[in-house]
Each structure stands twice: as C-alpha cells, then as structure tokens.
C-alpha cells in the first residue's frame, strides 16, 4: 500500500513550488497597443462616419438626377451598414459592463473543465505553436488583461418513489422536489500566470437548522499556468477521478440524477485540499495531486467512503494521499483513461483498545467515453481497497453487517443516441438512453463481520434528455433500483438543468 509520510508530502509541495517558479518564463511580449480606449475609438469612428455622411449628402445634392445618384445611394447604404456594426460593438461592450476593453478571465464550469484557467501563458509561444501545429515564429502569446469572471449552473430535481419495494413491502418513501443545486463560479486572473477558480454552491435551496440545505465551496484553487505539459494547481481541488467528478454540470451527463457508482464508489463531488501538476503531453492528458487523506471516521457500510471526504472543512491532515489520472485524448470523440486515489485515512486516531488506525484506502477506476455522430457510449469500473477495515469498525463502533467494506466495487455502462441527429441541421438534441450499473460497498468485509445484502445493488435506468439548446437540459427517467435483499425502491425522476 502506498503510504505517504506527512513530511514527505510537505517537502514535495515545497520542492514543486520552487521548481515551478524557477522555471517561470520571461515576461510576455507586449502587443502593440491600439491608441485610445474602445469608447474613444468608437467616438472617432462615429465622427468619421458623420463627416462621411455630410460629404455624401453634398455629393448627392450635386449629382441629383444624374447616373451618379444611384451610385451614391449605394455608398450611403454601405455606410449605414458600418454604422450598424458600430452599434453592435457598442452594445456588446455595454453588455459586458466595461467602458474599457473587456476583462479576460472566464466564467466557467466543471461541466467542461475547471472554472477559470487561461490558455498557455506568457512565454509559451512554443507550446501554443505545437498545439496548433504552428512554427515558433508564427505563434505568439500576448499578455492578458485582468478581471473578474462569473458563471454557474443549477439543477431542479423531482423524485417520485414507488409505493412498494422490490419484494412488495410498503416503501414508505415520500416523493420530493428540490432546487438541488444553485452554483456560482467566480474567477479572478491575477496576471498571465496566476488564476483563481472557485465554485460556490447551495444545495437544496435553504441552509437552516430545519432544512437540509448546504452551502459549500466546491473548489477554490490557484492555477499557475506555465506551459502545456506543466502547470501547477493548489487549493481545494476536485479529485481527478472518473467521468462525473470533474464534469458534473447537469448538461454534461445523461439522467436526472448522477449515476450511483460515481456517487458512492467515487463519491462525487469529491474535493480535498492539496496541490499538484497537470498538463498534456502528446495524445495524453494527466493530473496528479497531493491532497489531505480521507477520514475513516466517516466510512460506513452503505455509502462506503463517501462521508470520509473532508471537503476542505477543518480537514484533518495527519495523513496525506496521492490522486491522479491519465487519459488518452488523441482521437476526437474518444476519452479513455484511468485514475487513482491512495493514502491513509486514520488521521492519527486510535481504537478504543489503543491500536493506531492507518486505514490505507485506495480507489482506482478505468473509464471510457465515446461519441460518434449521434451515439454516446460511456462505461466505468471502480474498485476500492481499505486495509484495517476491522480497526475502522472498532473506531466507529460498527458490528455485524454494519461493517465497513474492506473491498468495494462498482461499474456501469451507458448508451444514448441523439435521434435528432437524423434530422439535417437540427440544433436541439433528444437523447433516449439506457444505463445499467452495479455497485457493492461491502464486496468484502473483515473476518468476523457480515455483509448486508442491501448494499449489493443493481440499477437499470431508462430515460430521455431533451436539450433545446446546449445550455439547457430537460430530463425524465425511470429507475429500477434493486438490491440483493429485495428492499430496493424504484423511482422516476424529472429534472431541469442549466449552465451559464
């Protein structure tokens, strides 16, 4: 088991920072400035057009009735078009709320990547050139202006539960509708190298003692943009595992609810505090971070490691972990890769009998996502190993079939087809889909404990996603939720998702 002593983690972090900063390229070449602000340029342009109009009017008066008159009318029409273009530019500027040139940091979302980051920064002309197949002399990267950015996404979810369970017993489940997520991205670009990305989230609308809502910082990190192969990141980061955790916006996945394998085995949205590197090399993309370890006190039989996430909130930092992923991204439409998280989770705790808990926890996954024409296929397998699960049971007071699983496992396959791809030039999409998943948070338990068959689950989801435009999704699906104990409760769901 890969165990990282704390002093090694801290040392690696300092070394990484030193090396990264030492490699900082020289300042970017400054672009030749265009004199005056946008407002001044538009004013000059308007003045110029006004003079042109006056001159044209004089010419028209002189040429009245002659063949040149028609010619001048055409010129006048063209000037009108120029004037309309100016107007469009002015409106765009006003819409951005800037009299001066627009800010350059971005409002973003995890649906398509982390919140705010900037393409190759200062001194990376070579990388930009490589990226676009350009020669070094042909590619230049200029400095950027600074600014705040904003974006976000949201989801509303309605769940209707069957009145009876899998084996015909009353389910007791109550239907529910909730404003599941309302998220704001805020970003700030300090300079050409340093960018702040944050995601601030409300779940279930109201945060109060009598409500189930939560207010969370989903991520908040600083990116140091160095070059295409090497960039650094530090702060509250998304664990780079699976297909949902980093891309969890509602328009980015099929189904009203996220799949359960990536809710339980890979506990999305999973984020921890740490630092690391990311980038691309050849047809591969990678990310690798050192982060605070999980907290075994949160482990349980039903949800596995999910409540062991520390989420950046006064996280115990006695144990650290490594997490990373490697993806092949060389073919458009195809993403295939694997990821890992490994580290101790005892966080310095002892069992009632005085034994120190290490609780080494390793999660691995392999995933593939393939889109071809209207077809969208996705599959994932994930497995978790937890050592000293018996000590964790003692730590948490678990007995019998309430044991933490020493091995946990889940997988799913999903296929959808955009039927509107059969229609020429359809901009909307309508995707019927099917997903089958299995997961078990007690694939194995320590000697002396028992498995609870309720945790051996199988789910079939049949659904439909309609997107009138890229950024809006209306979803409906039916889920058959079975388990080995026969107590599963089916449900159907409706959801509305949006990004901006």
């Amino acid at each position: 088991m890969f165990v990282i002593p704390r002093w090694v983690s801290v040392g690696l972090g300092m070394l990484l920072a030193a090396v990264t900063l030492a490699q900082a390229p020289p300042p970017a070449p400054t672009p030749t400035p265009v004199p005056g602000s946008m407002e001044e340029r538009i004013q000059r342009l308007e003045k110029l057009l006004a003079e042109t109009r006056a001159e044209l009017a004089a010419l028209k008066a002189a040429a009245a009735g002659s063949p040149a008159d028609a010619r001048l009318a055409e010129i006048e029409r063209k000037i009108d078009i120029l004037a309309q273009e100016i107007e469009a530019i002015k409106m765009a500027d006003a819409a951005q709320g800037t009299a001066a040139p627009a800010p350059t940091t971005q409002a973003t979302g995890t649906g398509e990547g982390p919140a705010v980051s900037i393409a190759p920064p200062t001194g990376t002309a070579q990388d930009a050139g490589q990226r676009y197949g350009l020669g070094l002399s042909a590619a230049k990267v200029y400095g950027l202006k600074r600014g705040v950015s904003i974006g976000g996404y949201g989801e509303v979810l309605y769940q209707n539960f069957a009145s009876k369970s899998q084996h015909g017993e009353p389910s007791g489940a109550q239907d529910q509708i909730t404003d599941l997520r309302a998220v704001v991205y805020l970003g700030y670009k300090f300079d050409d190298h340093f960018v702040l990305n944050t995601e601030l989230e409300y779940e279930n609308a109201v945060v109060a003692s009598d409500k189930g809502g939560e207010a969370e910082v989903e991520f908040a990190y600083i990116d140091y943009m160095h070059s295409r192969p090497f960039n650094a990141r530090a702060g509250l980061v998304l664990i780079p595992m699976g297909l949902i955790n980093e891309q969890h916006e509602p328009t980015a996945f099929l189904g009203a609810r996220r799949n359960d394998v990536e809710d339980v085995i890979i506990p999305s949205t999973w984020r921890e505090l740490g630092w690391g590197l990311y980038g691309e090399a050849g047809p591969f993309a990678y990310r690798g971070y050192m982060v605070n370890g999980l907290n075994a006190e949160g482990y349980d039989a039903e949800e596995g490691i999910r409540e062991g996430r520390q989420e950046g909130s006064e996280a115990l930092a006695e144990n650290w972990a490594f997490t990373g992923r490697l993806d092949y991204v060389g073919a458009p439409g195809l993403l295939v890769g694997a990821s890992v998280f490994t580290g101790n989770s005892g966080q310095g705790r002892f069992t009632p009998s005085g034994e120190k808990v290490h609780g080494a926890t390793t999660v691995v996954d392999a995933h593939v996502d393939w889109r071809w024409r209207g077809l969208w296929l996705r599959g994932l397998y994930a497995h978790t190993w937890i050592s000293e699960a018996d000590l964790i049971n003692q730590l948490n007071g678990f007995v019998g079939d309430a044991s933490v699983g020493s091995r946990q496992e889940g997988w799913y396959v999903q296929g959808g087809y955009d039927v509107l791809s059969l229609m020429a030039r359809a901009r909307a999409s309508l995707v019927p889909f099917v997903r089958y998943e299995e997961y078990d948070t007690q694939k194995a338990v320590p000697f002396g404990y028992e498995r609870n068959p309720e945790n051996d689950r199988q789910e079939l989801t049949l659904g439909l996603v309609f997107k009138p435009i890229d950024r809006l999704a209306f979803k409906a699906d039916w889920q058959q939720r079975h388990n080995a104990a026969g107590t599963g409760v089916n449900q159907w769901n409706l959801a509305l998702g949006y990004i901006f």
Binding site: R77, E112, P120, K140, V141, K145, G330, L335
Partner: protein
Amino acid sequence: MDTFSEVRLPVRLRASAALALLLAGAAATVSATVFLTQEEALRLAFPGAAVAHRTAFLTPAQQNEARKLSGDPDLPAALVNLYVAMKDGHEVGTAYFDTHLVRTMPETIMIVVDPSGAIARIEVLSFSEPEEYLPRPRFYEQFAGKPLTDELSTKRGIHPVTGATLTVRATTDAARRVLALHRILHESPAPTPPAAATGTPR
C-alpha cells in the same frame, strides 16, 4: 447592386479608415489569449502567396440566404471581410475571421476555404474561455476537405470532444456560417478588384 466594395475617393478613404477603426475596436473588445495575430494566421495559411483584403456588403436577401444555408439561427453580419490569396496567378484560398461566443467568452478563429468551396484549415487566433474548453489539434483537422453539407455537423461528420462541447459546437457553427457566406459571395456578380491589399506574406 454589387456585393464587393469598390468605393472610390474621397468616400473610399473615409470608408476604409472607418473599417480599420472598426476592426481595431473589435480586436480590443476581444481581449483574449492571443495565439496568432491576423497577419501571422494569414502567413501561416498562405505561405508565399499574395493576400488581398476585400470587403463585401450583403444585401438582406443574401443575409437570409446565408442563414438558411448555414442553419444558424442568427442573421450573419451584413459586412464581410475576406482575404483572398493568389499564387502564381491562381487563387489558392480565401480566409475569413469569425469571432463568436463559446460559453460566456469569445474566441476568434480563421477559417480558410479552398477554391472548391471546402474548408482547407481552421486556426484559433484567440480564446478567452479556459484552456480545458479548447479542443486539441486533431479536432480541427477533421474539418479539412469538408464542404457545406449536412455532414458538417457535430451530430454527423464532426466528432465532438468530451469536456469541450460548447467550443465544438461554436466552431462547427462558424465553419457552416463561413462556407455559406463564401458560397453566396462567389455566386454573386464577378467581384471587383480588391479594395485594399495586405501585402505578400513573407
């Protein structure tokens, strides 16, 4: 009514100056990460060729036709700037620059159309969204040789990229928009000589 500009002095000077200011203003608005300047992009696309800048003014009917051909919900701008490259007495391609929103921020791309009316290449000049939204070069290579048909779609002949869906869509829309404009401009009466030359890229 002619499509291409052949404005003469003194109004021609005024219009050219106005256009130059307009372009300067537009460039300033798109304060993004700049990978290539316009000149560099043209030099990259047309090595050793003479490139001439032309300005075309669409009639309302042409705008509607372009929208219909491209499938774009919005009317294209009436003002079109194009760059025609000539080498050894033959036209080798036409470049268009398209600025559009990706998610909330703009990007500018150059789309080069070959003499047959198909896409020759696409280059990203500037991009304001996160780099994670920016597809890799292999994505852009898919466009080469594609004419304006129903296959030029992310639902058909253009394979999307996981994590860059909006950029993929925006790029494909721009490609269709440009090919529609190119077809309309080349179906219109014979273009007049270039309004202004940008010189021969070295």
